[in-house]
């Protein structure tokens, strides 16, 4: 329990640092820390497969791209704050409280009802076998549709990025 609280603390701290630190590189590193913490939560829920995938895909592959981009731009001078759009600011003031409110309501509801999750997780939840069953039997169509969508997006990106042959 102590370990979980510690990880939760690190997760929240790193999430705050992502937003508040001025150097983009430090923010990216704290985001990695945050994602690793989430992976550790999966581990404590005995969802080892999700733990590994979270680390490989999010903390690994996707964040490497972030690091890559920040390094390529190497914005040292970005530390002076850019004045955001007015619309952006207005949306931020509006969206932030809304999100907090939604999360708070969700947590409040969850705290009150004893049966938080109606379709309770089986003991094998989050193992490779269980997720395979879910993806390739129960939700095969949705899974394939999502993968087709991703492939289409990928082809689109390749087409857009390709240089014009002259």
């Amino acid at each position: 329990m102590l370990v979980i609280n510690l990880i939760a603390f690190v997760a929240i701290f790193s999430a705050l640092m992502v937003v508040f630190h001025r150097s983009p590189m430090v923010s990216v590193v704290f985001l990695i820390v945050n994602l690793v913490c989430i992976a550790l939560f999966f581990l404590f829920l005995h969802a080892q497969f999700l733990f590994a995938i979270q680390i490989i895909v999010y903390a690994g592959a996707i964040m490497v791209l972030f690091v890559f981009v920040v390094m390529l731009l190497n914005l040292r001078k970005e530390e002076e704050l850019l004045p955001g759009w007015r619309v952006q600011r207005a949306l931020a003031y509006l969206g932030g409280p809304l999100l907090v409110g939604a999360l708070w309501t969700a947590l409040w509801r969850r705290g009150r009802s004893s049966e938080a999750f109606p379709g309770s997780f089986g003991s094998g939840f989050g193992t490779a076998e269980d997720i395979g069953q879910l993806l390739f039997n129960d939700y095969l169509f949705q899974f394939e549709a999502a993968s087709v969508l991703l492939v289409v997006a990928m082809i689109g990106a390749v087409v857009l990025a390709r240089r014009k042959e002259s």
Binding site: I32, V64, V67, T127
Partner: protein
């Protein structure tokens, strides 16, 4: 008899000590092997003065690293500069913990699994750790605040993303045959001479090439490429911090070699050993020995290739990863799937 918690803790600690000792010992002596083999390949001697045949050279080198002045250049971003060597070294050690180095051994009245952690996502854990190792290199390159280092860091992140895919895909064939992500089940399914190397040669080829790229070894050592980038991401590092980058490289090599043995060459299995009338303890010891021998062979392969092949150009490296290894690994998956469907495997 239910084993007490104390004995479990002692068992775990002993296994951890054994594996870390083995990896660190391997790292220490691989530096010596590397230099000696390089010498032999280039028709010279290599280090042969410190101790018999130069065997004490790694100890002398280690002491030298410890006593050298630790210079932190004034233009670096200190937190990441100091953190980076740790970030690269820790995952490289952790990866080795899920590799089974022997069958379970019967000692002091109970079975002991010769593996630090028998995770049910064993192979994914190794991939996760190698994915984490990238940040050490990337951050070292970025925080050094030096063009050469930055280029090294950039190259390594691009290289690792590209080759992780090929590596992951090449292993899928093995996992399809085994039906498990546990590494000791992968080993158990290869009893006798049913080594995956024979049934999945394309996958093996992809895996070996990708492993060379993932460990930043020649001919794929573009991130540190001394002829272009001085020393790449560790240009600004000195003394023990520099040594940690080297140690991480060798630890990664050991994990990669052990993984090749585990996935494709039967791990600790020795064909025909069950027929020989030996005591169980002797059998276990022979199996551990066989595992270490096979791993040593692949470590030698790493060294052999480094001093034989010239370095790739960066665009060639990317082409090889995306246009050759990636389709080949996919082909292996299709072939394996077809064979499983027809009941041949």
């Amino acid at each position: 008899m239910e084993p007490s918690i104390l004995s479990l803790v002692i068992e775990a600690l002993l296994k951890v000590a054994f594996v870390i000792g083995l990896v660190m010992g391997g790292v220490t002596y691989m530096t010596w092997v590397e230099r000696r083999v390089a010498g032999i390949i280039q028709d010279r001697l290599g280090p042969n003065r410190v101790g018999f045949a130069g065997l004490l050279q790694p100890i002398a080198d280690g002491l030298k690293f410890l006593f050298k002045e630790d210079i932190i250049p004034p233009h670096v971003y200190k937190p990441f500069y100091i953190l980076a060597p740790t970030l690269i070294f820790v995952p490289s050690l952790l990866g080795s913990t899920v590799i089974p180095f022997g069958d379970s051994i019967h000692l002091f009245g109970r079975d002991i699994q010769l593996q630090v952690a028998n995770l049910n996502v064993g192979i994914l854990f190794i991939f996760a750790m190698s994915a984490m190792g990238v940040y050490g290199i990337a951050l070292a390159g970025w925080s050094s605040n030096n063009k050469f280092s930055l280029m090294g860091g950039l190259r390594s992140s691009a290289q690792l993303i590209s080759y992780e895919l090929a590596m992951g895909l090449s292993v899928v064939g093995v996992l399809m045959v085994t039906g498990s992500l546990r590494l000791n089940e992968v080993v158990e399914s290869q009893s006798g001479f049913h080594w995956n190397a024979f049934t999945q040669p394309i996958g093996l080829l992809c895996f070996v090439v990708a492993a060379f790229a993932e460990t930043n070894r020649a001919p794929f050592d573009l991130p540190e490429c001394e002829s272009e980038l001085v020393a790449g991401y560790h240009t600004e590092y000195s003394s023990m911090k520099f040594a940690m980058f080297m140690m991480a490289e060798y630890a990664n090599m050991i994990t990669a070699a052990a993984l090749m043995v585990t996935l494709y060459f039967g791990g600790w299995q020795v064909p025909g050993l069950s027929k020989a009338a030996l005591s169980p303890l002797a059998v276990s010891l022979i199996q551990v020995g066989a595992f270490l021998f096979k791993t040593a062979f692949f470590l030698f392969l790493f060294v052999w290739v480094r001093w034989t092949l010239p370095r790739f150009r960066f665009d060639q490296l990317m082409d090889l990863g995306w246009k050759a290894l990636f389709p080949l690994a996919l082909l292996q998956i299709f072939i394996t799937a077809f064979c499983i469907l027809r009941g041949w495997l």
